[in-house]
């Protein structure tokens, strides 16, 4: 090996491989995280040049302070009804997640992914968009569907891959799609939706439309080439798109340092591409709302894209197939210094005199009942209990939608499969 060669005057090189500062057995330590006080970050005019936002990519937009007050220039001044609607949607997502997680554990489906602690980045942002703006989510923004009033039962049917699954049992659970609700199909291949969102936004501009697009990606997935292609195109064509990076600090077992989060912020990716950027407390629903609305206004005014880092924490495992206690301290999520978005909004509402324990227990009861009822309805349509003969839905549908018209070879294979099933039944 070349390293054996003597070069006495030169030091040996060594490879830096980032490591998180706490592993299982260590005390969880978030002291390295700089958290500026709520309200301390300046809010530029919507027509600001991208460069005027660039100092904000190293800071953190926060509205709710420790007492639950909304402070500073970014306070979106939402009325109590709207705050309660956001609160209710976030609570619904959490209860839904818990139910479906349990359903997976009960063997009713193959897989599930929770968004615990990240409800605000989907729900509050969805409330700040127009209903007909198109979203290009990842598997952790089920909150957009909830905020847009998509039926919970249909979401569950998708998770169960049952007869009423709008996607005919073809997609993994949680990989929803709804054109009508402005929710682009989720891909299992990370980052692919990012340039697609930019393309959708470019098309909207080409056609002189007024709708904008909003894309989501995880911190880990920003390492994919598609992320960089998307940001390049978005900047070049000033596409009317919001590019959200949900920095929940973990990508399965790899911490955000492995994606470059140790070197700079994810929001700072905006700087090199010359587009507007913001770094936002993703556990602060008001900050998420305000930043999204600001970026949406810019996009609508034809001022181009904004990249928003939603700084949050993945409280639960990556998915039902993951055990986070193997790679990070137990209860790391509970120690996250920016708190829980649901608890923070509740505290704010209570402080305003717009919420109390009676209303809280009423809400929990109502939403629990709603989710339970949806689950009952969904399970009437079956769950993913399958055998090599009995399937949750009509097997002949497997050959549909490969093309608009089924070519001869697929018709032949369809017939072959029907014959196989008959043979099995004998």
């Amino acid at each position: 090996m070349t390293s054996d060669i003597e070069r006495p005057n030169r030091p040996a090189l060594s490879l830096h491989v980032p490591e998180p500062n706490a592993r299982p057995g260590d005390e969880i330590d978030f002291s390295h995280i700089a958290i500026p006080p709520a309200g301390s970050v300046r809010k530029p005019d919507v027509s600001a040049s991208p460069a005027e936002t660039h100092e904000l990519v190293y800071s953190l937009v926060r509205v709710l302070d420790d007492e639950g007050r909304a402070v500073g220039m970014w306070d979106p001044r939402l009325d109590p009804d709207q705050l309660r609607r956001i609160y209710r949607d976030m609570v619904t997502v959490r209860i839904f997640d818990d139910r479906m997680y349990r359903a997976q554990r009960q063997g009713k489906t193959s897989f599930y992914m929770k968004s615990t602690g990240e409800e605000a980045v989907a729900v509050a942002a969805a409330h700040a968009l127009d209903r007909d703006d198109m979203t290009f989510p990842t598997y952790r923004q089920q909150g957009i569907l909830v905020a847009r009033g998509y039926p919970l039962r249909d979401m569950m049917c998708q998770v169960y891959s049952n007869r009423a699954d709008p996607l005919k049992g073809r997609q993994l659970p949680i990989m929803y799609s709804s054109r009508e609700y402005g929710f682009f199909t989720i891909s299992g291949n990370l980052a692919t939706q990012y340039p697609q969102a930019v393309g959708w936004a470019m098309a909207s501009a080409i056609r002189g439309d007024s709708r904008i697009a909003s894309a989501y990606i995880g911190d880990g997935s920003t390492a994919e080439g598609d992320f960089h292609a998307a940001v390049t195109f978005a900047g070049v064509y000033r596409a009317p798109v919001i590019l959200n990076v949900v920095n929940n600090q973990w990508a399965i077992s790899s911490f955000s340092g492995i994606a470059g989060g140790e070197l700079t912020t994810f929001a700072a990716r905006a700087v090199g591409y010359g587009i507007a950027g913001l770094r936002v407390d993703g556990n602060d629903p008001l900050a998420v709302f305000a930043a999204t609305r600001w970026a949406a206004d810019r996009a609508r005014l034809n001022l181009g894209p904004t990249l928003i880092e939603m700084f949050t924490y993945r409280v639960e495992g990556h998915s039902t197939s993951d055990d986070p206690s193997a790679y990070r301290p137990k209860n790391a999520g509970a120690a996250w210094p920016l708190g829980d978005p649901i608890a923070r909004l509740k505290q704010h509402l209570v402080l305003l005199g717009e919420w109390d324990e009676t209303r809280e227990s009423d809400l929990l009861e109502t939403v629990e009942a709603e989710v339970r009822a949806a689950q009952r309805e969904a399970e009437k349509q079956g769950t993913l209990v399958t055998s090599s003969i009995e399937f949750p839905q009509d097997v002949t549908t497997m050959f549909e939608d490969v093309f608009e018209e089924m070519p001869w070879h697929l018709r032949e294979q369809q017939a072959q499969m029907v014959a196989e099933l008959e043979a099995k039944r004998k």
Binding site: L172, L190, E420
Partner: protein, 334 residues
């Protein structure tokens, strides 16, 4: 040992013997890989020899090519074979042609491991079998083991090979052989003769198929998970088939196939990848070219269907004993 342990052991043996061997990929370091194929390696060999990479398959393969160009022997994991496509350009345009375009000045002793295939409810993005795409590219070797013994020996051979090797691991049988019947549990490897895996160094040569069952009536060529489904099928049907486990997709061991087909006069090719343009087409063309006058019936194929992998219907999609049995009977009809 199960197949995961055998793969882990191959890494361990090679990292111990040769300090140029490094393991890299998403979640490969501290965690040991989502399937645990690289468990304990970081602890034993340090972070600069076994490390996590950014989620960038293109970056993983591109940098692995650079490392191999330096003289290391990188073993890069792509978490699921379905995610190898972002790295397609680096593999196809760069790795595959490096030796050729530089007249041998640069060679790439690079191994790319990836779990592939269906049967674990992975949906259409965790189930595909991309081997024929790589077989179509001049300059890449593609290997698919069907049992722990072969997995370890073939992986060591791949790491020692001076050229880039794609090593696809049938994740359906990581834990044990699988007979293709839904209602029968996967048998753990512990009960299987192929689970006897030596601790130390040995190789199973690349480019050599194995006759896993001798027979007279028909030759069945399969690889990966399908070897087990074929064996279960012929046992259930009581057919005297000769079963060939291809082990290496490219270069193909035509001598073994040819000898067998000339003996039996019949041939069935089985894989779980989609049918059209699949590797079964190449195999049947080769058999027709070389054994035409010995064939008593057209070569048959039993494969996955030409649709993406459907999450909830994978048990209808997957070639099981009925589909394989039908193909074999067809080959025996004439």
């Amino acid at each position: 040992m199960n197949m995961i342990q055998a793969i882990n052991s191959a890494h361990d043996v090679m990292m111990e013997r040769d300090d140029r061997v490094v393991a890299m990929g998403e979640d490969v370091g501290f965690f040991g890989g989502v399937f645990r194929a690289t468990e304990h390696l970081q602890k034993k060999y340090g972070r600069s020899r076994c490390f996590d990479t950014p989620i960038s398959e293109n970056g993983i393969i591109g940098t692995a090519i650079g490392m191999a160009a330096y003289g290391l022997r990188p073993v890069a994991e792509i978490q699921f074979a379905d995610y190898i496509y972002p790295a397609f350009d680096q593999l196809v345009s760069e790795a595959a042609r490096m030796r050729y375009r530089t007249a041998g000045e640069w060679t790439l002793p690079l191994t790319v491991r990836s779990p592939y295939g269906g049967g674990i409810f992975g949906g259409q993005t965790h189930s595909q079998s991309p081997e024929s795409l790589f077989a179509h590219v001049a300059g890449l070797k593609t290997v698919i083991p069907s049992n722990p013994y072969d997995a370890k020996g073939l992986l060591i051979a791949a790491i020692e090979d001076p050229d880039p090797v794609l090593f696809f691991e049938p994740k359906r049988i990581y834990n044990g052989p699988f007979d293709g019947f839904f209602d029968r549990p996967v048998t753990p490897w512990a009960k299987h003769p192929k689970a006897e895996v030596p601790e130390g160094h040995y190789t199973v040569p690349l480019g050599k198929a194995a006759v896993v069952r001798e027979g007279e009536a028909v030759t069945v060529v399969a690889y990966g998970t399908m070897v087990h489904v074929v064996l279960a099928t012929i046992e259930a049907e009581g057919i005297d088939a000769e079963v060939i486990d291809l082990r290496t997709i490219l270069p193909i061991d035509m001598d073994t196939i040819e000898a067998s087909v000339k003996k039996t006069g019949r041939c069935v090719v089985v894989h779980e990848a989609t049918r059209t343009g699949g590797f079964g087409g190449e195999l049947s063309a080769l058999v027709q070219e070389r054994c035409f006058y010995h064939l008593e019936a057209p070569v048959q194929r039993a494969t996955g269907f030409d649709t993406p992998y459907p999450h909830s219907l994978e048990w209808a999609y997957f070639p099981g004993p009925i589909r394989i049995g039908t193909a074999i009977k067809k080959a025996l009809e004439v």
